[in-house]
């Protein structure tokens, strides 16, 4: 199991889980705000649509669907 945090909330997921799957599984549906402030979450699940962008360990605009969870990861929705 892997322990990570999203917006300060701790979550524990199975090894190999993507960040997108971890967040959705924990009930986080709003990953980012669109340019006009609408809530957005993952759409394509395969790294094309860019809707699942979150900040991971301080680096912005990371694709949650293409990033496997790692222990100690700090994820921030935007």
């Amino acid at each position: 199991m892997v322990k990570l945090r999203c917006d300060g909330v701790e979550m524990v997921v199975a090894e190999g889980t993507s960040v997108a799957a971890a967040l959705l599984g924990a009930g986080v549906s709003r990953f980012r705000s669109s340019v006009t402030g609408e809530p957005r979450g993952p759409l394509c699940g395969m790294g094309v649509c860019m809707e699942c962008r979150v900040t991971i360990d301080g680096v912005g605009h990371r694709l949650a669907c293409q990033t496997p969870c790692r222990a100690g990861m700090e994820v921030m929705t935007t």
């Binding site: 340019v35 962008r53 912005g60």
Partner: protein, 350 residues
Amino acid sequence: MTPSPDVMIVGAGIVGAACAYELARAGARVEVIDSGLPGGGATAAGMGHLVVLDDNEAELTLTKYSVGLWHSLAKELPAAAEFWGCGTVWVAADEVEMAGARAKLSVYRQHGLAAELLDERQLYEAEPNLRAGLAGGLLVNGDAMVYAPVATRFLLEQSKAKVTRAAVTSLDDLKAGAVVCATGAMAPALVPGLRVRPRKGYLAITDRYPGFARHPLVELGYLQSAHGDSNESVAFNVQPRPTGQLLIGSSRQYEDATASLLEPMLERAFAYMPGLRACSVIRTWTGFRASTPDKLPMIGRLRDRVYLATGHEGLGVTTSLGTAKILAALILGYAPPIPAWPYRVERFDG
């Protein structure tokens, strides 16, 4: 058959559009022709920085006059033109450049332009993502930014000019009282021998990083890059869009140069703003500026009924409105609002 227009403008970039706008306001019947989309050439390739430059008196006069015109136009522009009175921060790397900033300040003040010197601390307060160890800078308050393709379309719509999408192969075939060639770096194709050379520039744009940069940031050495005649040069020039996206420039090279300047341009930007390294670049592109030997535009009569408005180098968006005022006066026969002789077409003859 419709009667031929008073003025036919070849080129629907920001300069051609501004000329259409100004001539129509002065009562002329105007048409515009371009093989591409309005505002789709160098106008779309640039940053949209509206900046007063002081390399020489003629440049200062035209840029100052034009930036003033942009401020007057701002309230009429549609929101999508993203006019932003953000000012410019000229960055001084060391004490030598800081002396340059002080000199610049005094020139701007003499010309009635608002500007303030920033010491090292004030520079970081204004722009915390600049690297440590810079000497300071100069904030020029009146500079601005605009999204030029939308401004171009606005000017064309206001002019009510008929815009035709077609290629022009000869200026002499066009039926009109006067013909204006405003095709930027492509002008020599219609005016053989014209002293305008395409000068390539690279740009990159990032995803959104709101607040990462708050003003257009330009190194004080920029004028050296822009106005020197070296075959290849780069300068630190990073500009935030109102959305938080960052435009990363700038580079200049003549058409016979082949090496990519993207890499040195980015290196230069990273040297001033190390945090840019990690920023996600979503697109890169190149465009061609219309460069003249003295880096001033050519505005005026070429021969009989043919006029030129080209050669604006990197200042086409900034000086488009001032160019149009001068050209309209020359075509319609009244006194130009600022002296037109520094930009006369025949200055390179003989």
